[in-house]
Structure formats: C-alpha cells, structure tokens
C-alpha cells in the first residue's frame, strides 16, 4: 500500500478510536449541558474521580477497569443526585443558575481535584488490563485494544442510552424537560424529579468514562482539565440535546485531530478541530443534529 494512503487510513481509524474516548467523556455532559441546561464544568473532574476509584477497586479486587466502572456507576448516580439536589435548592430554584451555578460547578471541580490529591496523592495512577498491550493488525491498519475496547464500550453504552431515551416514558420525559419543563407538569410529571434522575445518569456516565480513561492513559488529579474544552465543543457541535449528534461530533473531532497530526503535526490538531467547530456553527448554528429554534 502507498505509504501516504496507509498513514491516512491509520489516521482515520485511530481518530475514530480517539473519538470513542471523547464520546465516553462527553456523553454525560450531553445530558447535563445539552438536555438539562446545567453547565457542569466539573464533569471531567468527576470522570477523573471515577478513574481513581476504578484504579483503587480494580487493583484491590483484580478486576477489569471497564467492569469496575460499570459497577461503580450506581454510586456515581447517587453522587449526581446529591449534587443536583444541592444545586437546585441553592441556585436553580432561585433562578440564579446562570452565573452562580457556573461558579458552583467550578467549586465542585476544584473540590474534586484537591480531594483527589488529599486522598490519593498527586502521583499518576494506572491500571492496565492485559489486553491494553495487544494491537490487532488488519493489513496496514493498527487497532490497539487500549483504544478499541473503551471506544466499543462507550458506543454500546451511548447506544443503549439513546434507545432508553427514545423508548421509555422516563427517557421521553428527560428529552421533554429540555424543551419545556412547565409543559411536563401538565403531564403530571415533576420536572425537578426528572432533572435529578437525568443529572444522576450524567454523573454515572462520568464513572464509565473514568474507566475508559484508565485503559487509555494513566490518570492524575488534574487529568480532567485537558478534556474540558473538547467535551463542551463536542456537545455544542453535535447539537446540544442530541446524543447521536454528540457521537458524530466526537468521532469527527477525533478524526480531524489525528489526520491533522499525521500530516501537518500535532500542534495544528486543536486549531483545526476547533476551526471545524466554528465552521459547523457558521453554517448550522444549532449544531450537526440540533433542531433550529
């Protein structure tokens, strides 16, 4: 195969795998930010907290990090419910969710980061499953399982979530609360209860993303910071309340980053990826899958 073509194909494939990780990281935020209009800037920090818990439990019990991340998801759901209850009581209920709510989630982010340093120290933590050192080769295409397995898990979880949101009454209520919370009351559904549930799910997804992150790279308390810009950009590019849009945007982000890194150097990757975001918003201000107001 022509070396340039091989580089291009590998750039696309590795970009799709990277996009899988981005989708895992952005899935919870697509619910909180996209559907509930809650600017949870602490989401990547919660993902890293999930990663630390995965490392501790996985190392102690000898379990696979992705399995542990699914096992701890209910605990993170409860954490999410607690955070939302606090946020609703002190900010949303008073109509002060815009700026003060943002400051609250900044605070949560710093507390999580410092809490991780206090509890686990500032050192890198890792938990490598055996498959993380295996690379499948399909002709000239490399498929490192370190990237492939978390991407597959992320796609499976997001796929199930999309089905649940479309097929169940509660799922439809979550979609509805994003559009008109007051109209939901007319259907005898408490929008606060629905938002609490949805925010709990978004934080549970942060735990799953933490497991994916541990397989891909070691984590330290501040690891979430490099994801903040990307996950918000992906949610906006995808169309806010659209999970399929979020997945498409995440994959596109990964491919653009990696193809650019392959041919023009990695220093251009963020500029080109965020340039794509601006281009998409210029032609489709509602995002790829968003509906025009």
């Amino acid at each position: 195969m022509d070396p340039q073509l091989s580089l291009l194909l590998n750039g696309i494939v590795s970009g799709l795998l990277l996009g899988g990780l981005y989708a895992a990281a952005a899935a919870g935020l697509a619910i909180a930010f996209g559907m509930l209009d809650i600017v949870n800037i602490a989401h990547p920090a919660l993902m890293v907290a999930g990663a630390f818990l995965v490392v501790v439990i996985g190392t102690t019990l000898g379990l696979d990090p992705l399995l542990v991340s699914l096992l701890i998801a209910p605990l993170f759901y409860l954490v999410g419910v607690g955070i939302y209850t606090f946020y609703h009581h002190f900010f949303e209920r008073r109509g002060e969710e815009a700026l003060q709510g943002l400051a609250f989630f900044f605070g949560v982010m710093f507390i999580v980061e410092v809490g991780l340093v206090m509890a686990f120290g500032p050192e890198q933590r890792f938990l490598d499953p055996d498959y993380a050192f295996i690379t499948w080769r399909l002709g000239e295409i490399d498929l490192p399982l370190r990237m492939l397995v978390p991407a597959v898990l992320a796609m499976a979880v997001v796929g199930l979530l999309i089905l649940w949101l479309r097929r169940s009454f509660t799922g439809l209520a979550i979609a509805a609360v994003a559009q008109d919370a007051e109209a939901l009351r007319l259907m005898a559904v408490d929008p606060v209860k629905i938002k609490r549930l949805a925010f709990g799910i978004s934080v549970a997804l942060a735990a799953m993303a933490g497991g994916a992150l541990v397989v891909v790279q070691p984590v330290e308390p501040s690891s979430g910071q490099i994801f903040i810009g990307r996950v918000f950009a992906i949610c906006i590019m995808g169309g806010m309340a659209s999970l399929p849009g979020m997945v498409t945007a995440a994959l596109l982000f990964g491919v653009v980053e990696n193809v650019t890194a392959t041919f023009y150097g990695p220093s251009w990757s963020p500029a080109v990826a965020f340039g794509w975001l601006l281009l998409v918003l210029a032609f489709r201000p509602q995002g790829l899958f968003g509906k025009a107001a």
């Binding site: 580089l7 980061e113 890792f126 690379t135 220093s267």
Partner: protein, 418 residues
C-alpha cells in the same frame, strides 16, 4: 481574694520571660524562617510534594544538629496550585507580611519565572529548584539555580545524547525531533537541533505538540515513516506515557530513541511502562549508580523512602528529591559561613564558594547556574516487569554520559527484546 488586673498579667508575662534561658529563646522564639511557594496541588504537585518532603527531612536533620547559627529552622510554605498567576502574590506575602528571613523558589521554570520580579524588587538572595535558563533574561546577581543544565542550554543540553548516538558502530545520519509546547522542552529541542546540524545530521521530522494531546499514535506513525536513526522526544508526563505506549503498540524501533522525556525518571511511570523502557536513552539528573554515590545521598534516600509511601509521593526519590535537599544545603552552608542574615553577603558567598551537597560538589557561575553542566544520559536496561525494587540498585538505569560518571555500555537498538 485578690483580682489579677491586666497590668499584673503583663508583669507576670515579663517576669516569666526573664527565666527563659538565652538558648531556649534562640531555639523557640527566633527561628530562621525559610519561605517559598510550592505546587502541592495541580499538575506539578507530584514533584512539588516530594520536594517538600525532602525539605522537611533537611529541616529535621539541621535542627537535630542544633539549627543554623544556633537558631532552629522553620519552613513557611504555601501551595501555588501549579498556577503561575498565584506566585507573585505568595512571594509578596512571604517577604512583606510573613517577613521570612530567606526565600527559595517553587519547583520548575514556569513557576520560578513569575516570582523573579518580586524577588528582585526586594533584593533577596534566591536559590531556585529545577529552573532552566530563568536568569538568562533577568540577569539577577542574587539568583542561584539548583539544576544540572548550566548556563548554555542550547550549546550543552543535547551534547550527551548525540555523543551516545555517535558512539554507534554505524554513525547516524538522520534525526527526528518532537517536543511539547513548553519552555524547557523547546529549549531542549533547540539544543538538539543546533548540535545535530553541527554534527551533520539531516533532520527528517521536527515538530511540536500541545500539552493537551491525548493520542500520540498518528504522530509516532508519522515519525516512524521518516525512518530516523536518532529519535529525540522532549515530553512531559503523562505525554511521555502516551508516546511510549504508542511506540510500543506500533512496534517502532530505532538505533537511538529517547532524549529529554520527563516521566521515565518517576517511579509511577517506571512501574507502568516496565519493559517498554528497555534501551531507552534518556536525560536524567540522578541514578543510584556507584559513580553517583555522593556523601549523604544514600542516607537521605533511606529517610525519604521510609516516609514516601505514607506521604503519597514518589516512593524512590531518584529524581529531583536529592536536589531539593541540596537546595537547602546551599542555604545552610552559606548562612553558616556568612554568620548572619544578610542578603548581599549571602549572594557574594554563593558566588565565591563551592558547596558540598548530596548531589555532589557545586559551584555557581556568574548567572547563578551550575558552573559546570551535568546533564546525564542514562539507558534503561534489563527490565522485565514494573517492580520498583530494582530501581533502588545499580544496573537498571546505567549512566552513558558524562564519561566521568559513566557506569555502563550502550545497548541498541530501542525496541529490541531485553
């Protein structure tokens, strides 16, 4: 019953003070206060916290010996949160409000540079920790650096790496360079670029990457496509992990691979990478080889390792920790010679004298850097797993450069089985 008035209480306090011995006054009431900011949270916290442990061990050692000038030493430190924006205010507080006697620096260039204007304005004598070329721009005559890099980073940093590369039976012809977008890494890359061209190497890949990069596979693949003889990386953790994992997954080999990767010096990275580190030729500052068994370093490391796990810091202490201890030894020896806290006299003393430290004998240049650079290039050899015990003994991280500290011979290529 007689009531005690405030005046009586005052007399009582004065009277009780009169019975305190002069020695006890010196010990308890008038310590020498050394102030600094340190990254105890944020991205640099791993090295910041382990430096702090080294400083505490030094403080305990020196106080056990009766302190400095008969006065105990007290450390006054604040968390800079790895945020350069906090540093000027912290040093202003340390000097103007806390009124510390001596100031030393936070860890790393990016945190030291913003402290310099405050330090220079107050004319404080200043010993820094792992700053690279900070004083090139400031040219402050009371600045002293605890770092092996020396005055001329461009002219010397990459020298050892290329010396090792040119010791190959077949001299290399091509060089690739990848460096993270930060000051130290860019200076390191500039040095290798400059020295590589001087030696006639053709540069086939020369790019930077942003610190937010997550996946290094496309970059490593692009480098491998140019088939370089010498691969130089200047990276920081966790990027170094990402690069090494991608190199391993893509089975990249090269006669010489490594360079200025920050990460393989740290225990957590050594534990995770295991055999992936074999034959990596990398910049370093310390290795427990017989050639670096300086007086006091083994005793320091014994104390450090005994406490490191409980303090949740690097369990080995093979990187900057001995240098953090040595940083305070410089302050201690200078104060002992000068005999009083006089910033000008301390600076004059530091320029004039040699210091005996746990990282060897040190002399400072006019710019305050080490008068003789001592960039080490080490090679990881014979690693079969992530067990850290082997890193406490010689033979795992052998020194290839400089020649006076050399402890082993080059194994090549990178990517060959251990």
């Amino acid at each position: 019953m007689t009531r005690i008035t405030r005046r009586d209480l005052g007399r009582l306090v004065l009277a009780s003070g009169a019975f305190v011995s002069p020695a006890a006054m010196g010990q308890g009431a008038n310590p020498i206060r050394i102030g600094y900011a340190m990254s105890l949270s944020g991205g640099l916290a791993a090295n910041g916290r382990s430096s702090l442990l080294a400083h505490k061990i030094w403080q305990e050692d020196v106080n056990a010996r009766g302190g400095i000038l008969g006065r105990p030493v007290e450390l006054v430190f604040y968390d800079d949160q790895t945020n350069p924006g906090t540093v000027p205010a912290l040093y202003t507080k340390l000097i103007d409000v806390d009124k510390v006697d001596i100031v030393t620096s936070p860890y790393a260039t990016v945190m030291i540079a913003p402290s310099m204007p405050v330090i220079m304005q107050r004319r404080m004598c200043y010993v820094s920790l792992f700053g690279a070329g900070v004083n090139e721009a400031f040219k402050y005559d009371r600045y002293f650096s605890m770092n092996v890099a020396g005055d001329d980073i461009k002219g010397t940093y990459g020298k050892g790496f290329l010396e090792v590369a040119f010791s190959l039976p077949t001299p290399p012809r091509t060089l690739s360079i990848l460096a993270v977008d930060n000051e130290f890494a860019q200076k390191a890359a500039e040095s290798v670029r400059h020295l590589g061209r001087q030696r006639g190497l053709r540069i086939v890949y020369d790019r930077s990457y942003p610190p937010t990069t997550v996946d290094f596979a496309p970059t490593v693949r692009a480098i491998a496509a140019t088939r370089p003889d010498v691969v130089f990386f200047a990276s920081y953790p966790p990027d170094s992990n990402g690069l090494l994992r991608a190199i391993s997954e893509l089975k990249v080999t090269a006669p010489i691979l490594g360079g200025g990767m920050i990460g393989p010096q740290i225990a957590a990275v050594q534990a995770q990478m295991g055999p992936i580190l074999n034959n990596l030729v990398n910049w370093d500052v310390y290795s427990p080889e017989p050639t670096m068994n300086f007086p006091g370093v083994a005793a320091f490391q014994e104390k450090y390792r005994a406490r490191a796990v409980a303090e949740q810091v690097d369990p080995l202490g093979n990187y900057l920790q001995p240098f953090a201890y040595a940083q305070m030894q410089v302050v201690e020896q200078s104060l002992a010679r000068v005999g009083k806290i006089d910033q000008a006299a301390l600076a004059t003393d530091m320029h004039a004298n040699e210091f005996k430290t746990v990282v060897g004998d040190i002399r400072f240049s006019a710019l305050g850097e080490w008068a003789e650079e001592r960039n080490l290039f080490v090679q990881f050899q014979g690693i079969r797993d992530g067990d850290l015990e082997k890193y406490k003994k010689p033979g795992t991280k052998v020194i290839l450069y400089p020649n006076n500290l050399k402890s082993g011979t080059l194994r090549t290529p990178y990517g060959a089985p251990a």
